[in-house]
Amino acid sequence: MNVRVFVPIDAAALSVGAERVAVAIAREAVARGVAIDLVRNGSRGLFWLEPLVEVETPAGRIAYGPVTPGDVAGLFDAGFLGGGAHALALGPTEEIDYLKRQERLTFARCGIVDPLSLDDYRAHGGWKGLETALTLTGAEIVEQVTQAGLRGRGGAGFPTGIKWRTVLNAPADQKYVVCNADEGDSGTFADRMLMEGDPYSLIEGMAIAAIAVGATRGFVYIRSEYPHAFKTFSAAIDRATAAGLIGASVMGTGPAFHLEARLGAGAYICGEETSLLESLEGKRGLVRFKPPLPAIEGLFGKPTVVNNLVSLATVPVIFEKGWQAYRDFGMGRSRGTLPIQLAGNVKRGGLIERAFGITLRELIEDYGQGTASGRPFRAVQVGGPLGAYFPESLLDTPLDYEAFAAVKGMVGHGGVVVFDDQVDLAEQARFAMEFCAEESCGKCTPCRIGSTRGAEVIEQIIAGESVAKNLVLLDDLCTLMLDGSLCALGGLTPYPVLSALTHFPDDFDRSAAAPPARAAE
């Protein structure tokens, strides 16, 4: 049997040269007359090590990274096909501390399997959850998802089982399952990694959701900036359909489930579930008011499950390992694991799947090993561009929906973006308003006009104009946006603004004669 060599095809790895590395390895193997099986896997999520090349040996998979094309000849010379020693050798992949200390459930296969190989998927526990689900009634499936304590991983943290129950109980001639893969939060990549690295887990999860609620059609709305994910996932749908796993009948015995991938319209707001539905229907991505909930009147006015990709891809785990097993992870009302995406100014960025309860400090200091710049840490923004900025004093906050809410923050989609001491939180606050102004759908007044005015007011504060009056106005505006906005975009934009004001008030005090020290450097 040929030696299997793994070079990720994940977009993050490709962005640092994985494709050239793969080509170089293939050429080198031919040149040396060595037969290898080059597998293009997903990423392990250890981004500072990408391109991370793995070789399958009797002792398990041995990792080398980060590999450049220039390293390839040397790797062959060092006998890396047998796990030979080399400056880039990292030892057995599973033993890399960053990975070893994770609790990978949703991402258990990601980076290990050949993403499009149905055999690989099955060999790694794939379809077991669906097979179990097929033996249950819709109500039983819903009940187990509820018992597992799974909450929406898109940001809102709404209990998935309760959402499904609403759809299950809504009578209709047609129901839908829609996966929100319009992953637009800055510093997040979990959805993309999974679509590129383990697409069948999402298909399996959606099929279970469809069986649970009685939906026969599903759509995955994929961010337009994710061409690789779209390609891989579309191919996965085709293969799963051709293999009879979905389509006219789920696994040949279940009901019909037709799944389609749709490329997003290129707007952040289309990640908001009602905008997403509008966009899927071919319309402008305009937010709908609720009620009616999408679970009652969703896509094309029919009862629709709209879930984040991570939520859906986690569902097979619940049925493979049992809802009790899943529920045993986590803390408080936050059950299971969260794929955290560590990014920004941090030494070791990547995907860290851990049970709820891990603290920000452990993530940033243990996993991240501090800032990439080597300068002192100053702030972290959790939950995307609409998440709160936390100072060092809040780093012991555990990742938990309720714990975060208590300190006026949110877990969101699990994006953690680190800043060093050069960050200006007043500028970040202005950026939050500008981001909202840029991405607002323009429907409701607080968001449409308020975000533009908010940026202007912060600009005046930064310029030192009528600071006291403007701070009052900014506070009033934030209250209006929080209470008055139609959706979470306008409603959450005050989070970064208010957290910056609360935790970093000095950055807004431009009355001091001297400019802030960090700006002078």
Partner: protein, 946 residues
């Protein structure tokens, strides 16, 4: 009199019958399930501030002014989008809400011009009102931030201006265009702060906009504003009246300043239109004060003389003496009258009364002769009533809609919009039309089947549809057994089941693929409530009456008569064509369609009218003209009708007119027929008189005087003058007295009076003791005639057929912006949409003749020839050409022939064999017309005459 401000409940009413009770600011209110909190509040007079909500549109939830607090609920939900729940406790005014609302208004005004005092909406601006309501006192953001104040105006539409600098992006215009009108011309361009209303990336005029005015109506600011208001300012009082254009009969508020119309606003309580309008009724009213309005009576002894302006006394005296002279010389039957479908019921009634009682004969006819006379005959014979079976609202219950020979989005736009709304809700659509009308494929509407039949094959098509129903076991057997005459039914079923009526057999005749026809028939028969809507494409044929009966057969055999959502419904062309027929305008019928030979009926009229009446029908219009050419018919009183443009075979019409000795024309303009007249009596527009119009759904609505008659007398008064001068006294003090007389003499109108119409808003006849509030749906408990009667409808092809010399078939119709002969719309800005009549010709036929788009072509038939410009389009099928008849210079009816319906003489406008060829000059007829028009419209200058 004051300006009428209709209550805006914010969101549409809920149709639910189930009620819930909740508490709003401590007051209990009980409303239907599904009502919004906002509307529930409005029901008890509690106004929640709002800008993006209006009750003609579905809630949108964008402005965030209407936020409320609800006990036990988080946050501040929007009252427009929150449905009521039993036991809910709502607070609409709290300190928190006040602060939020001021915050919203502060944002709005930070991007809005501060020119209220010089703004066209000053005093009629919801933004201004809301700033006051929330107590906005300062805008802390200042006015230096990003804004849209420099956005340029769009003045491309002749009737309204779009000023985006004043836009608050509430999307009401966009939603009105979608939800109410169904055109989808408007959108929001960009997103976030850059969101802007856009007519699709171009200007309004170049866009898909049909200028219905719904957006202007919906706009809460001065962003979309009528030019007439920009020019004149706000109106000071409203007069509720009824539109004088098509048979939809929209209710309007004429908003007035003194006797000047500032704007026409569709009336929300108008039962036919529910607050919607089209470009004609909404904007094209400028003709009423056009400089070509004739305001002085005129006479001349022969038509080659110039007109001489005279007093009313002299004109009336001259007309009366001429009519008496002619009758003395040529006999009592040598004169007659034509009633107008443009005038009120009361005026029409008086003209036919004048003819029957004053002239002493039954030589009265009306323009319905040339449009829907087959409807009256066909539906009367089968169902027992000469009118459509439904109200317009019925379409909202229809599951399958069959449109045949009608183009509602152009000719009956407000009803067309309602139909499109129902189609967007999911009703299925079958269109039978030789031409691809807009309805076949329009935004979010697509016909399931477009049966593109050849002109003249309606009866074959209808028979084939019925054949499928009968032979495929789709008959509503229980309904037919209970409701229809068994003998006639059996006879008809045997007839229609014959293979010669099968879709396959008639495919060669209709050109419609048999499979499509079968599928359409199955859909019609099995798709739920099925409704037929039809127009002149059915009636204006040699077998017009047969086709009407064919539709009646089809509806009966499938059980689609007598309930909501079904029926057979003529879309009647003119504002009061239904009324003019109801009022006894036909030579053989008194009011309410009772034959003049019926002794009892005649005696009732004789008693009230105090005369002896003839029991034999008089002459129809074509008979009058024939008799004139023969020299036995010499005098004609025509009120508000232009037969020299509207009737077929104009050469024959004008020959008849020219042979008469006294033609009296009563009209607001010197129309084409006036070229052949000896007496001209200036008419009054619908704004100048009281009365009633009856629309296509039998709805009698008030027409109210908004200004005094410009020519001193309203038309009903002029008819009285003429009658009195002829020695038959008429002395009504008000049109209501005329209606009282109509009600006394007409069983179907027995319950109608002006007072009753005022009370109910409008009344659909029959209205009498059995139906004191009128009758929206006919034949509910059985057919009016007793049992429904299936009529044998053998297809007989028209004798008009294409030949080597005239190889193409011409069919005629209307377009949205122009109206019939164009007398009104050509005198408005509507001409910018349609300056001239065009000949639509298929690319095949154009190519073969070397005709390019825009070329001048000659259109010739055996009757005549005219020249016009070609429009090459595949909207028409190969072998068929199409034009409109809005312009006298084109005069499409020079080409149409004298063939007509076998039963009613309704002309066969829709089928004329023609040839089309390139030309570079006007036709001989057009040259002669220009010269004649020049000569016969001269008015002598009184100064020069002395």
């Amino acid at each position: 009199m004051s300006l009428i401000h209709e209550t805006d409940f914010g969101t549409p009413p809920s149709p639910s019958a189930q009620m819930v009770t909740l508490e709003i600011d401590g007051m209990a209110v009980t409303v239907p399930v599904g009502t919004s909190v906002m509307r529930a509040a409005a029901e008890i007079g509690t106004k929640v501030p709002k800008l993006c909500a209006t009750d003609s549109l579905e809630p949108f939830g964008s402005c965030r002014l209407c936020l409320v607090e609800i006990d036990g609920r988080r946050g501040t939900p929007a009252s427009c989008t929150t449905p009521v729940e039993a036991g809910m406790k709502v607070k609409t005014q709290t300190e928190r809400l006040a602060k939020l609302r001021r915050g919203v208004m502060e944002l709005y005004i930070s991007d809005h011009p501060l020119d209220c005092l010089t703004c066209a909406a000053n005093g009629d601006c919801e933004l201004q009102d809301m700033a006051g309501v929330v107590g906005l006192r300062e805008v802390r953001y200042g006015y230096e931030g990003h804004n849209h104040l420099d956005a340029g105006k769009d003045t491309s539409n002749p009737y309204f201006t779009f000023d985006p600098s004043k836009c608050i992006v509430c999307s009401r215009c966009v939603r009105a265009c979608e939800e109410v009108q169904g055109t989808f011309a408007l959108t929001i361009d960009g997103r976030g702060f850059a969101s802007a209303v856009s007519p699709g990336g171009t200007d309004f005029f170049a866009s898909e906009c049909v200028s219905c005015g719904a957006c202007v109506q919906a706009c809460p600011t001065a962003t979309l504003m009528e030019n007439s208001v920009i020019e004149a300012g706000q109106a000071e009082h409203s007069v509720i009246t009824t539109c004088a254009y098509c048979g939809v009969g929209c209710g309007f508020k004429a908003e007035m300043r003194g006797t000047e119309v500032v704007r026409m606003v569709p009336w929300k309580d108008g039962a036919a239109n529910h607050g919607h309008s089209c470009v004609k009724g909404r904007f094209a009213w400028g003709y009423t004060t056009h400089k070509e309005r004739m305001l002085k009576p005129m006479i001349r002894s022969k038509i080659s003389d110039p007109w001489r302006e005279v007093s009313w006394e002299e004109a009336i005296g001259y007309a009366a003496s001429e009519f008496r002279r002619i009758q003395a010389k040529y006999g009592r039957d040598s004169i007659g009258g034509i009633t107008s479908s443009r005038c009120t019921n009361e005026e029409t009634y008086l003209v036919q009364k004048l003819v029957r009682a004053g002239f002493g004969n039954n030589n009265v006819d009306t323009c319905a002769r040339v449009c829907h006379s087959p409807t009256g005959y066909g539906l009367s014979a089968t169902f027992g009533t000469s009118a459509g079976t439904q109200d317009f609202d019925s379409v909202m219950q229809a599951d399958v809609i069959l449109v045949i020979g009608a183009n509602p989005t152009d000719a009956h736009p407000v009803f067309g919009s309602r139909m499109k709304k129902r189609l967007r809700e999911g009703a299925r659509l079958i269109v039978a039309d030789p031409r691809r009308t807009d309805l076949v494929r329009t935004p979010h509407v697509q016909a399931d089947y477009h049966l593109q039949l050849k002109p003249g094959s309606n009866v074959a098509l209808l028979n084939a549809l019925a054949h499928v129903v009968v032979t495929e076991g789709l008959v509503a057997e229980a309904y037919v057994a209970e409701r229809c005459e068994p003998m006639e039914t059996a006879r008809w079923r045997a007839f229609i089941a014959d293979p010669r009526h099968s879709p396959e057999a008639v495919e060669a005749i209709t050109g419609v693929p048999a499979a499509d026809l079968r599928a359409a028939a199955r859909l019609y028969a099995t798709g739920g409530n099925a409704a037929i809507y039809y127009g002149l494409g059915v009636t204006e044929h040699s077998q017009g009456t047969t086709a009407v009966m064919g539709m009646a057969n089809l509806a009966m055999i499938t059980g689609n008569v007598g309930h909501e959502g079904a029926g057979v419904n003529p879309l009647r062309g003119q504002n009061n064509v239904q009324g003019s027929c109801d009022m006894g305008s036909f030579p053989h019928e008194f009011t309410g369609y009772r034959h003049v030979s019926n002794d009892a009926v005649r005696e009732s009229f004789e008693e009230v009218w105090n005369v002896t009446l003839r029991g034999e029908p008089g002459l129809r219009i074509p008979n009058m003209l024939d008799a004139a050419v023969d020299g036995t018919f010499k005098g004609l009183y025509i009120q508000g009708e232009d037969i020299a443009q509207s009737d077929p075979d104009i050469t024959h019409v004008t020959a008849g007119l020219a042979a008469m000795e006294c033609v009296v024309i009563q009209d607001i303009f010197l129309n084409e027929t006036a070229s052949f007249a000896h007496v001209f009596l200036p008419g009054s527009s619908f704004l100048e008189k009281d009365g009633t119009f009856t629309n296509a759904e039998r709805r009698i609505s008030m027409v109210r005087k908004a200004m005094p008659p410009m020519a001193v007398y309203a038309d009903w008064q002029a008819t009285m003058l003429l009658s009195n001068a002829l020695g038959y006294p008429m002395n009504y003090r008000h049109p209501s007295e005329i209606m009282d007389e109509i009600a006394r003499l007409t069983p179907t109108f027995a319950g109608v009076s002006f007072a009753r119409i005022e009370e109910l808003g409008s009344i659909q006849w029959p209205c009498n003791d059995k139906a004191p509030n009128g009758t929206p749906t006919m034949h509910v408990d059985g057919f009016v005639r007793g049992k429904g009667k299936f009529a044998i409808t053998e297809f007989v092809p028209t004798e008009e057929r294409s030949t080597a010399r005239y190889p193409l078939i011409l069919t005629t119709g209307r377009i949205l912006s122009q109206y019939n002969v164009g007398a009104q719309t050509r005198r408005t800005e509507n001409v910018v949409w349609h300056e001239e009549d065009l000949l639509e010709i298929h690319p095949f036929d154009a190519e073969y003749r070397g005709i390019a788009d825009g070329d001048w072509v000659s259109l010739a038939s055996r009757a005549g020839e005219t020249s016009l410009r070609a429009k090459v389009t595949d909207r028409v099928q190969a072998g068929v050409v199409y034009t409109t008849f809005h312009n006298p210079e084109t005069a499409a009816n020079v080409v149409t022939t004298d063939f007509s319906d076998w039963a009613t003489n309704c002309p066969e406008y829709k089928v004329t064999a023609v040839q089309v060829r390139l030309t570079n000059h006007r036709s001989g007829w057009q040259d002669r017309y220009a010269a004649l028009r020049e000569e016969t419209t001269r008015i002598v200058d009184p100064a020069a005459a002395e």
